[in-house]
């Protein structure tokens, strides 16, 4: 049966027939599910009988029902209430931060434009009023028209209207001020940048054969300004593959044999067929030897119990799969917890193979001997007890309870009177395991006497059929039996981190990016991954917030803030040399869980959480629902102007990816939803480093410069036009040919900006990766800000003045005609604007040379072509004007006079107030990079996770 969305399966002691269901009135009382987390219980009344329904009664979408012929079900939480819908925060349309800033400057430019037009039209009005009497007969105005026989006004509608027309006309002439072409150039540049990002061999994932994908084309440059990275854990930081690594049994550590790993392929013969687990596990030879020697010796007995516990204490279902070879069958272990899978595979490798599970018993093949264990009771894992237990009736008729769980919860129920030495040793091993980032579980066992068992059995029966408070009752029953345990040992499982994750996180943090990990996993897992990925270090103070009410949330937040402040003060005193800018100076890690977040998000506590979180260098959120992930991203996004980036791989990360300014999808095993929702998709987490630190930096720098340059380029032309209008009695004659005005942003100056915007690199990839701190330029908005905008505008005002007034004075009182001086002006503008760009280019490849000098040549060619068209006014003008030395002297003077202020300011600034990027460039060029790296480089290489 496939449920459409979610269906409730009704457990019924007696099999109801179809008829029963048809006739019986059914009342379903469903708890409202909040953001898809169905933890509250619902009730159902059928035929007067009340049944309580919990999460275990719910079949989620996509589940397949096995091991039963039929089932009755009711579709619940359908339509708008489905998990997918509830967790869908809607896809906001994203715009690049730079573009949003740029829009403000465009408004300023519009105000400039209007101001220019107003100046022109007011001057025109004054001129008209002052010459009102003369307009009829001035030869160059000639208002009077006699062609109709009588005197008439020709094309004149009074000073008011004339002024208005002048205004409109000036808007048309000066409209280049608003760089419409900029938007087109930006799109082209982004396409080019995307091309190079996709082609980057360093962002190609061999394993999944996938290239980097640029799914959004309008936020390339946002990658250069990221301040917060929100990362999913499973599948993003880790590979989502658990591997059994080592065990500590009865105080003896069996992890030494790791160096000489042999792949044991354990198999058993059942009914003439070979059974083999699908996954191979590394084994320790000593332990293997012991496990094979049987339970004769004392050591062998402990090992036997431990491995039996691993094989039995779980909810794994073995599935037998056929292979191409009919005599060999594979056993695939399926279960909800990957940890348990890893443990069962490990047990199988040591000869304790779980081969069969039914509701009443399990069959374990121990060293080739099939043994049947009756499962008398099972206490499922819950997050309060943090352990699970199973009660087995063993073949030797002894009832044993096997418990496994987190170390903290286990040691509290251990029988301390027994064997303190073993406990101590186990604790030491646990510490060693977790410090290398392994996920640890402790296994314990106890034999139950018949009376104990009966007592437990009756209370278990009562609890599991209780209608109200069933889970609390079950918990109570469980804890009654889970005590006085004898410690068998502990296991270490590696949740394999993806390659290069610790290095990537370290790079990101050095770059001043705050990395937050948001995971649906439980707290312990999250913390252990935090350690192994170098997100958390032992030096950090951890603040853990686990609250179950708003009040306690408020209290713990307030306490945490106070503590945080104290720590900052202490740290400030301790290392006041470090400066407060360094994120590492206050090593506080905040760990908060989803239940607390329920009370915090969307309430006034958000502000406090943000305050706290912004003081912490690491934030780990565990047990969060998908929508809460988005809520956390929104929390940061709404309170700061900093750029946020979310990276995830599963459907549960979709809302977070959509909410963040930049969403990155990892194309992993968890389907395509994250990739579909993302702006950029890639194969591995570590690609984030080249993506952000290299491409992001480049893109941002290029785009920021490109926008400023476009503003400059267009306003220079507009100012030149404006100056001329002042000398034409404010009538908007343009000396520059209309064709040239049109071609200006199409041929004359467009290509260099686009090519520079795609190809220019301020620093090499190597330098950027070596010094992640250089990324700070984007976070501090160094390439595009209001100050630079105003500087650019003043520069363009000066340059336009140089372009206009040098020919103006050189040709005043001469026979120069409009077209000739217009040609000089347009050539002056184009040459100056292109040389200005040439002055700012960081890296001259042959393409840059071709494009910049080519544009200047193309402009000369175009001007010549325009001037050989006889029907245009400026026929042959360029040849007449260029014959004279004055023309070339003017051009040279324009270039020098226009660029000197910029050159001087640029030089002084670069030499006496150098930016980090400038210094790195110098170092790159003069080769001192390696030596100055010596002090900094030590933080970069991180040893690979210790080999075991």
């Amino acid at each position: 049966m496939m449920a459409s969305e979610r269906s409730v399966l009704i457990p019924s002691p007696t099999t109801p027939s179809n008829q029963d269901l048809n006739t019986a009135p059914v009342l379903l009382d469903l708890a409202k599910s909040k953001s898809g987390r169905s933890e509250s219980f619902s009730k159902m009344e059928i035929d007067g009988k009340r049944l309580s329904l919990g999460p275990s009664n719910i079949v989620l979408r996509g589940c397949q029902l096995k091991n039963t012929e039929w089932a009755f079900g009711v579709a619940v939480y359908a339509g708008r209430d489905t998990k997918a819908m509830l967790n869908n925060s809607g896809a906001p349309s994203k715009r690049s931060r730079l573009e949003i800033h740029m829009n403000f400057e465009i408004i300023i430019l519009s105000i400039f434009l209007i101001a220019l037009c107003l100046v022109v039209s007011i001057c025109a009005l004054v001129w008209l009023l002052r010459h009102r009497e003369e307009l009829d007969y001035i030869p160059y105005y000639r208002k009077a028209d006699f062609s109709e026989g009588k005197e008439d006004d020709y094309n004149y509608y009074g000073p008011g209207m004339e002024t208005f027309f002048t205004f409109l006309m000036s808007v048309i002439v000066f409209q280049i001020m608003i760089p419409i072409s900029l938007y087109i150039s930006m799109e082209l540049i982004r396409v080019g940048q995307a091309y190079f990002m996709i082609r980057d061999t360093q962002m190609y994932d061999e394993a999944s054969n996938s290239r980097f994908q640029c799914r959004a084309l309008n936020i390339n440059e946002d990658l250069g300004q990221v301040k917060y990275v929100f990362s999913d854990k499973t599948g993003t930081l880790t590979e989502n593959k658990m591997e059994f690594q080592c065990a500590s049994i009865w105080g003896v550590d069996y992890s030494a044999g790791n160096s000489q790993i042999d792949q044991v392929e354990y198999c058993v013969k059942v009914e003439g067929k070979v059974l083999r687990p699908t996954m191979k596990v590394k084994t320790d030879p000593v332990l293997l030897q012991l496990s094979r020697s049987g339970s004769g010796t004392k050591e062998g007995k402990h090992v036997h119990d431990f491995l039996l516990a691993l094989a039995a204490c779980n909810t794994i279902v073995p599935l037998v799969v056929d292979t191409s070879d009919p005599t060999v069958k594979m056993i695939d272990y399926q279960g909800e917890s990957p940890d348990e899978q890893a443990l069962v595979y490990a047990a199988a490798a040591y000869g304790f193979m779980l081969t069969e599970r039914t509701s009443g018993h399990i069959v374990i093949d121990i060293q080739g001997e099939r043994q049947r264990f009756n499962v008398l009771g099972l206490h499922e894992f819950d997050s309060d007890r943090k352990r699970m237990s199973v009660i087995l009736g063993c073949p030797d008729k002894i009832v044993r309870v096997f418990v496994k769980g987190a170390d903290t919860s286990m040691f509290s129920v251990v029988d301390k009177s027994l064997n303190m030495k073993v406990i101590r040793a186990t604790e030491a091993h646990l510490h060693a395991y977790s410090s290398v980032g392994l996920r640890t579980l402790v296994v314990g066992m106890r034999e139950l006497s018949a009376s104990e068992f009966d007592l437990w059995h009756s209370s278990f029966e009562a609890a599991s059929t209780a209608l109200i408070g069933r889970s609390a009752l079950l918990r109570k029953v469980a804890s009654s039996v889970e005590n006085n345990l004898c410690i068998l040992g502990a296991s270490g499982i590696e949740d394999k981190l993806q390659q290069g994750v610790p290095e990537a996180i370290e790079s990101l943090r050095t770059a001043g990016i705050k990395v937050w990990v948001l995971t649906g996993d439980k707290q312990e897992t999250a913390i252990s991954i935090g350690y192994s990925s170098k997100l958390l270090t032992s030096k950090m103070t951890q603040i853990i917030i686990n609250s179950s009410s708003k009040e306690s949330c408020r209290r713990s937040l307030e306490d945490a803030i106070v503590m945080c402040k104290k720590l900052v003060a202490v740290a400030g005193v301790a290392n006041n040399i470090g400066g407060s800018s360094q994120a590492g100076s206050t090593p506080v890690a905040l760990i908060i869980d989803g239940t607390s977040l329920v009370y915090i998000l969307d309430s006034e506590l958000e502000e406090q959480l943000f305050q706290l979180a912004s003081n912490c260098s690491v934030v780990l959120c565990c047990r969060v629902a998908p929508l809460q992930k988005a809520g956390i991203v929104a929390l940061v996004k709404n309170r700061t102007t900093d750029m946020t980036l979310a990276v995830g791989d599963g459907a549960n990360d979709v809302s977070m990816i959509q909410m963040a300014d930049v969403g990155v999808g990892i194309s992993g095993q968890e389907g395509r939803q994250a990739v579909m929702a993302s702006d950029f998709a890639m194969g591995q987490f570590k690609f984030l480093v080249p993506l952000i630190l290299v491409h992001g930096h480049w893109n941002y720098q290029r785009m920021g410069y490109m926008i400023l340059y476009n503003f400059y380029r267009n306003s220079v032309l507009v100012f030149v036009l404006f100056w001329y209008v002042l000398f034409t009695s404010f009538t908007l004659t343009t000396a520059i040919n209309e064709w040239s005005s049109v071609l200006y942003s199409i041929i004359y100056t467009s290509l260099p900006t686009i090519v520079v915007g795609i190809l220019d690199k301020d620093l090499s990839r190597r330098t950027l990766l070596q010094y992640p701190q250089l990324y700070g330029a984007g976070q501090r908005q160094e390439c595009y800000n209001r100050r630079l905008f105003w500087l650019t505008m003043f520069d363009s005002l000066w340059q336009s003045a140089a372009i206009f007034f040098i020919p103006f004075f050189a040709y005043r009182q001469s026979t120069i005609d409009i077209s000739s001086i217009g040609d000089l002006w347009i050539l002056g503008v184009v040459t100056l604007v292109n040389i200005h760009l040439a002055m700012d280019v960081f890296r001259w490849t042959w393409i840059t040379h071709a494009v910049i000098w080519g544009s200047i040549i193309a402009t000369f060619v175009c001007v010549i072509i325009i001037d050989v068209i006889p029907s245009l006014v400026g026929y042959w003008a360029i040849f007449h004007v260029a014959k004279r030395g004055t023309f070339w002297l003017c051009l040279l003077a324009i270039i020098m006079a226009g660029l000197i202020p910029r050159l001087v300011v640029k030089f002084l600034h670069q030499y006496y107030k150098p930016s980090d990027i400038q210094i790195a460039r110098e170092a790159e060029k003069f080769g001192s990079l390696s030596e100055f790296g010596a002090t900094e480089i030590e933080m970069n290489p991180i040893p690979d996770p210790p080999q075991r």
Binding site: I138, P139, Y140, Y141, R142, D145, S147, N155, Y195, T201, Y204, N209, R211, E243, I261, M279, K280, K282, I577, G579, Q582, F727, T728, S729, L732, T733, F809, R812, Q813, S814, T815, I816, D817, I818, G822, F842, W844, T845, T848, S871, Y875, F879, T886, A893, M896, A897, L903, K906, Q910, Y912, D916, I919, R921, E922, A923, K925, F926, E931, E936, Q947
Partner: protein, 352 residues
């Protein structure tokens, strides 16, 4: 490490071996090329003090001689400028200049004497200079028909010429438009020591205009026949391509103060020669407060007399040298080692 990798992939070994070999064939791995990896060989210029100072010195060294050369060239040009619009109005019309110029009865002839300050080598160019005459006014600039000027066939193409498009009888005016209508019509006659100087009016217009913009088969028609006479009349038997005064006039000036070539004197003028100029003061600039000047000038490689470029070059060159010197001083006093890591922002804090 290697075996570790093998373990993790070992689980599905059989299943993936086919697909991995097939994926080798259609691997999406981007091909390496220096272009796609953005590693094209490149030159990375940096504004080092050496470069900047050298640049400024070189620019200074180039600009200053050019400045002096232009100044000398300008100095070498001999120019006589004489404003005659006020002097050529009789005393009794001083307060009513408009009436004087508009009346057909008044005597427009006017004689002026000019002293040649220095020897003027031929050719001596004769210009008239108009002030405050906006030949670049939008209404004026547009008021012409290039098609009509070029070929006889498009004589009727006068739509852009209003209000001087058609004559009273609705025949098109050739050449039409305000520019042609307002053709300058003062004339000058020169004599030195009672000997008339010949003024050459040939080749004063651009050859290109004569050959391609003004048709040799287009003759003036209905010109200046309307109620309002704007300026000179044209000889209807001479084609437009030969009407050089018109061609010169129709190259509209860029600025409100402009000169137009009137003619050339092909003989040298000696210093202290007294030139007698007989001016026919016909052109009405009085209605809008314009000025008229007569200019005699020789020419040099930079054109007429204009000190601006020389001064500009000297200023720019001087500034460059000044910057070069001050940068040298700065460099000596406060040098900064290039690429010094201690200047990096994250190192600066630690040093302090």
């Amino acid at each position: 490490m290697a075996s570790k990798g093998a373990t993790s992939s070992g689980g599905a070994k059989d299943g993936t071996s086919d697909s991995s070999s097939s994926s080798k064939k259609n691997s999406k791995k981007p091909k390496y090329s220096r272009f796609t990896q953005q590693e094209l060989p490149a030159c990375k210029p940096i504004l080092t003090p050496g470069w900047v100072i050298t640049t400024f010195i070189v620019v200074g060294i180039i600009f200053i001689p050019i400045g002096f050369a232009s100044l000398f060239a300008s100095e070498w040009v001999v120019e006589i400028v004489d404003r005659y619009d006020e002097d050529c109005v009789p005393r009794n019309y001083t307060y009513n200049q408009l009436a004087y110029i508009q009346s057909s009865e008044t005597n427009k002839t006017c004689t002026k004497r000019l002293i040649v300050p220095k020897q003027m080598k031929s050719p001596v160019y004769i210009y008239y200079q108009l002030d405050n005459f906006y030949q670049n006014h939008r209404r004026y600039v547009k008021s012409r028909s290039d098609k009509q000027l070029r070929s006889r066939a498009s004589e009727g193409d006068t739509s852009s010429c209003k209000p001087e498009a058609v004559g009273g009888n609705n025949y098109p005016i050739v050449p039409c438009g305000l520019i042609a209508w307002s053709l300058f019509n003062d004339t000058y006659g020169f004599s030195v020591k009672n000997k008339a100087l010949e003024v050459s009016k040939k080749n004063i217009a651009w050859k290109s205009d004569q050959e391609h913009k003004f048709g040799s088969d287009v003759y003036p028609k209905n010109f200046q026949s309307g109620g309002l006479i704007g300026g000179a009349k044209l000889n209807a038997s001479i084609p437009l391509s030969e009407q050089e005064d018109l061609i010169v006039w129709m190259r509209t000036a860029a600025l409100p103060t402009f000169r137009k070539l009137y003619g050339k004197i092909e003989t040298d003028l000696e210093a202290n020669d007294e030139i007698t100029v007989v001016i026919q003061n016909n052109y009405n600039i009085y209605s809008f407060g314009g000025k008229k000047r007569l200019v005699l000038s020789t020419t040099s490689w930079i054109g007429g007399k204009n000190d601006f470029l020389g001064v500009a070059y000297l200023t720019v060159g001087g500034l460059c040298l000044f910057f070069a010197i001050s940068f040298i001083f700065l460099y000596v006093i406060m040098p900064r080692p290039l690429g010094d890591p201690s200047y990096l922002s994250w190192n600066r804090g630690q040093v302090n």
